[in-house]
Symmetry: C2
Subunit: 458 residues, 2 copies
């Protein structure tokens, strides 16, 4: 709860774009996962970088934390005010500032969603391909280093953010990156800030790389006799140097949930949903090669969806998989967790995880962006049974530890937030302390999203 | 000059792998450019990470700087001991530690050269494509965020280093990255360290991404009626979404020098040297499209070199361009400088630079990796005429300032070293102070390559 003087000063800055109403505070204490925290002290809705800078000066003067908020779709509690403070909701900074088709760049504000961006781009021949599933904000996607279905071909936010404008604690505004496609001029501050989860500053503007809309698209779905066969087909695909635009794995539980929820009639087997982008000649060859690989791995009914409506239906079902899975256990809440492993360890990681979940008694379908070794478990718990939530959290922890044993990472794309803070030491060792030193250098008063990502925050 | 006690302690650590001989010190005070500095106090040749860690402890105990040294091919004085200290020559840490073909990864020591690495990989079907021209060390390439001819398709060191082992000041050893293709687990320390030019620590091991050797390769050289026509053809190529593996520009002075030095008979016009990689079907389509674009821009004599020996001869000439240009003015030394601009500004940047050089009276051929907006000028000066060196430095400075005016960067790939230290404030503004704060956090005694990259070092 803010004291009268700081509250009054904040009201002078934001007027009716400051809220302390119970409804607004509660909305900004929600999370997509079981991770939860108390209410923030206030929520503000800035419209300009200058306002964010003034807010940062206010934060330093009054020692009040600031927590950035995009679309509220993160899965590890990134945007929750675990130490109180002011949530900075960027919904009123959601403009496309400049499209530069000749350089394949776009400059946007952080509150813009990826769907709104692609809607703006639809007539340019260009697109922003990073697709984490949810209609997340671009600022949030950068802050969490989001990726998703298309990262296997187009990269993650690490690869697609060219530059940032960032408000640091105390109100200094910096710009990182340049309009040039590459640079060797000093530390890569853009890369340091992408994935820093709001702990080093607040992103107020982003310059993004765009990609050409594909001339031709081929989507296929294929049923495999086993999880291992499907995963081995993915491994063979990547090792052959084929670059699908997406290659998604759905285990049999996910397939059943999607059939029921989205009216598909996929056979009840592990499936791969694959898409290739390119010019027609290259695509034909990719399709031929993938068909042969799939057949080698026992795939049946490899159907290529050449019509836009068929492709849309398949990908809509994939995007609805989370809701489909939740609907398969009415009333359930989900612990959604992800890991990412070396491709060579993918089959083992998926098989061991499936066995672990099966033995737990909790339903937990597995699906994922397997072309880059990244998969998810949706662990469904009855919210009235605390034992199930505890079991789910233990399963998620074992999944992360298994990933580390296999040479992987505790999270491929969901991030750390405070949900995975307890696993950072195991992944990084002494390097985690280095992260803490960098945080202390840029935010000595620990006002930027405290309680997250770095050591000493629990 | 080291005092007796620290020298003795250092000799205990390195025995006869410590040198203070004039010949060895002089060898490690050389640079490929006009940038120069005094002799280091000593040179050591470590064999293990433990030895480097012991060296870092020694450095802290005795307050003696450490400067990493790979192959000595950098162009901005990165590896020169401007504040004295010990040069750490990694030539005895040059092993390939592990090849993991199934994950397309390789683990190497920093002193390995890129040619030696590709020789080791030749039978695996894989390659490490980053090619800065010189046979640089992998550690030096990572430290300077090198790129080169193939970055337009395969990326720079930023994109191809998956993880690092780094010795920090004081001797702490950290590991960054993981075996997984992506991660959202905390700050991207790998990206922070790549391009940090030895100012944050010494790289003792690298895990690199590998790429498949191309199934088919097509190389062509095309003569254009003007610089603008050649550059506009590059812009059109990139905007169409064609992804050449390399697309190099040579101005008419460079062409003449290559003809004379490498026995080519290219017409005396601006040229593009282009290469496509892929499977044969995709390649045929790329070639067709590029042929049409080149014709649209007035190209003549577009010759596709399908035979390996013809391709090798062309690229050997390109790689020899620096020596060819130097040979065109006997006895000259060169200021080799690079900038990188947005593609949309490339024609203007090249034309204005050519005009500026032409007016200066100094010969300065221009060539470069124009697919990503990056080009070089080789400014040749008579070493007996200090006025020429001053003119060359002024031209290089104006080239960097022009790049900034056009939205670019002061260096696309050569880095900062101390040659471009004076331009960092102009490029980064307040963000340069942030780089200084990060440096101070990780190296408070300023023992890691002092005098380079960050503020307050001049």
């Amino acid at each position: 709860m803010l004291d009268a003087a700081p509250l009054s000063a904040l009201r002078t800055l934001f007027g009716d774009r400051l809220s302390v109403s119970a409804a607004v505070l509660t909305e900004h204490a929600q999370s997509e996962s079981l991770v939860s925290a108390g209410l923030p002290d206030a929520v503000v809705f800035p419209r300009t970088t200058d306002e964010v800078a003034a807010l940062a000066r206010w934060s330093t003067a009054h020692r009040v934390p600031l927590i950035g908020w995009g679309a509220g779709t993160s899965l590890e509690g990134h945007a929750l005010a675990v130490a109180g403070g002011v949530v900075v909701d960027f919904r009123e900074m959601a403009a496309v500032l400049e499209i530069r088709p000749e350089d394949r760049l776009v400059r946007v504000q952080p509150g813009l969603t990826r769907e709104a961006l692609n809607h703006e781009l639809r007539t340019t021949g260009l697109m922003f391909p990073v697709d984490p599933g949810a209609n997340a904000s671009i600022g949030g996607m950068a802050a969490t280093r989001a990726s998703g279905t298309t990262a296997v071909r187009y990269g993650t936010m690490r690869d697609n953010v060219r530059g940032l404008e960032v408000v640091l604690t105390g109100g200094e505004v910096i710009r990182t990156g340049s309009g040039a496609p590459k640079s060797a001029a000093g530390y890569d501050l853009t890369a340091l800030l992408v994935g820093s989860e709001g702990t080093l500053g607040l992103i107020t503007e982003l310059t993004l790389k765009l990609h050409g809309q594909p001339e031709a698209v081929m989507t296929a779905v294929a049923a495999f006799p086993s999880v291992a066969a499907a995963v081995d087909c993915v491994i063979a695909t990547m090792q052959m140097g084929l670059t699908p635009a997406r290659i998604e794995f759905l285990d049999v539980e996910t397939v059943s949930a999607c059939n029921a929820y989205s009216g598909l009639s996929l056979p009840p087997s592990p499936q791969l949903l694959v898409e290739f982008h390119g010019h027609p000649e290259a695509l034909a060859e990719d399709v031929t090669r993938f068909r042969a690989l799939a057949a080698d791995h026992g795939a049946e009914g490899l159907d290529w969806a050449e019509k836009q409506e068929d492709r849309t239906r398949l990908w809509a079902a994939r995007h609805a998989a989370y809701r489909a899975i939740l609907a398969s256990r009415p009333g359930a809440k989900a612990v959604v967790t992800d890991v990412c492993v070396p491709i060579s360890a993918l089959a083992q990681a998926v098989e061991e995880t499936r066995a672990d979940i099966a033995a737990s008694g909790i339903p937990g379908p597995i699906l994922g962006h397997v072309g880059d070794g990244n998969f998810h478990a949706i662990l469904m718990v009855d919210p009235s049974r605390p034992d199930e939530a505890a079991t789910a959290k233990t399963l998620a922890k074992r999944m992360a530890e298994r990933s580390l044993r296999l040479g992987g990472t505790i999270t491929g794309e969901h991030g750390v937030g405070f949900g995975k803070l307890g696993l950072m030491a195991a992944e990084h060792g002494a390097a985690w302390q280095v992260m803490g030193a960098l945080k202390a250098a840029l935010d000595p008063l620990n006002l930027m999203n405290p309680g997250k990502l770095v050591p000493g925050q629990a």
